[in-house]
């Protein structure tokens, strides 16, 4: 075997990869924000409206026990059958939101469960409104405590966005398969793209750590909850 690495043809197509990278960032960004919000909302609803517990639980279990790829096929290929037509990008964001929403629901639920009921009573007895108690006594400590787990889940979501190439979205791995077909340098292309994903994942992790430090500052009570969870 005498294989010689040739990265030049791949780098010559850097603009294609760069476009893909941008689309990955846009899609993953949208999916993470929407999925994170959906999950937090559902976790709260699950707790506040006992009647919804079963429905939300079923949604979480179904999503967590089926592959992301199949969920994507159902949204992109299946929904048009009942009259809902989506562009590949729309399908991608919707699938991500639904998928990440389920994982976030489960993670935030664990955080909410860790807030002792006596804390809520204490808050109410101090004449805080229900909304104030929810925000300051329940939600903030819960999110601080699960921030490290949420961050890991968000990074996984970013990486999972690579399968949107299956429905020919031209995000990073979709762009990679174009470059690969143009240059016939499959191995080199995927080495480069893998390195870019690694950088993206590390970057997102850093951003989330920074965001955690801003939202739940070190030295504050919330910061201590976050750090305790991260050190486990």
């Amino acid at each position: 075997m005498n294989f010689q690495f040739q990265f030049e043809p791949v780098f010559a197509q850097a603009d294609v990869l760069l476009d893909g990278l941008l689309l990955t960032l846009e899609l993953a960004g949208a999916g993470i924000v929407l999925g994170g919000l959906l999950g937090t909302l559902l976790a709260l609803l699950r707790r506040l409206v006992p009647g919804l517990r079963l429905v939300i639980g079923a949604y979480v279990e179904i999503v967590r026990n089926t592959p992301f790829l199949i969920q994507l096929f159902i949204v992109y290929l299946g929904l048009p059958q009942i009259g809902i037509r989506l562009t590949p990008e729309q399908a991608a964001v919707i699938t991500m939101t639904l998928n990440l929403g389920a994982y976030t629901t489960e993670i935030v639920r664990a955080g909410l469960d860790s807030v002792h009921p006596s804390q809520i009573e204490a808050g109410l007895s101090l004449a805080l409104s229900r909304w104030q108690v929810l925000r300051h006594v329940v939600l903030a400590p819960a999110l601080a405590r699960v921030w490290p787990s949420l961050s890991s889940q968000f990074v996984l979501m970013l990486l999972s966005s690579s399968i949107f190439s299956f429905i020919s979205v031209q995000e990073l791995s979709g762009a990679a398969s174009n470059v690969e077909q143009d240059t016939f340098k499959s191995f080199e292309t995927y080495i480069v793209v893998t390195a870019v994903y690694l950088g993206l994942a590390m970057g997102l992790r850093l951003i989330l750590m920074g965001l955690g430090a801003v939202l739940f500052p070190a030295g504050s009570g919330l910061g201590r909850l976050r750090q305790a969870a991260g050190n486990r």
Binding site: E61, I62, R64, N65, P67, I70, F73, F187, T194, Y197
Partner: protein
Amino acid sequence: MIRQFGVDEFIFILGSAKWTLVLTFIALALGSVFGFIIALARVSRFAPLRMLAGAWIGIVQGVPVLMLLFLSYFGLAIAGLDLPPMIAAGISLSLYAGGFLGEIWRGAIQSVPHPQWEASAALALTRTQQYRYVILPQAVRIAVPPTVGFVVQLVKNTAIVSIIGVVELARAGHLINNATFQPFKVFAVVALIYFCICWPISLLARRLERGVHAGRPG
């Protein structure tokens, strides 16, 4: 000619679940060996070994499974190994499983309290004997629930290898969909089969986890 989604199609999809299970099993078996080595390297007294294992875990957890698949697939081809897609798929999933299992098991080994190392060292056990008789038996108990939980991730990620032509559940669904043009029905059935495989494992993992916590005071 467009076929209807009938019993034959269903049976074809159901039969392909066998390959999903085979892939899971291969990845779990090879990945366990690999993960065990990585976990031990991660807690080794030899710093370069720790760093190497840490780097591997960082890479596997920081890149998409799809990229691991392509790199194995094309990398093996370049190395002159003309392997069937099934093997490349098995290898890439094993690498993936090894990284995640290695990290889970490192955590389990390190959560065995330090005095257990001291007590066994004071009884003149060698390091290997300490691992074999004292540390690992305790680490295994801690590691079982998250390991079972990871199997669910593994089953789901086998769907990705459909892209290199391994006819497992996801690929079978795709093929049937191309013949019947009933994607909603087809992929709902595929999802249901995945669910029937994954859900019991998830429940088992959760039950084991409660067992571990119930067994320990405090």
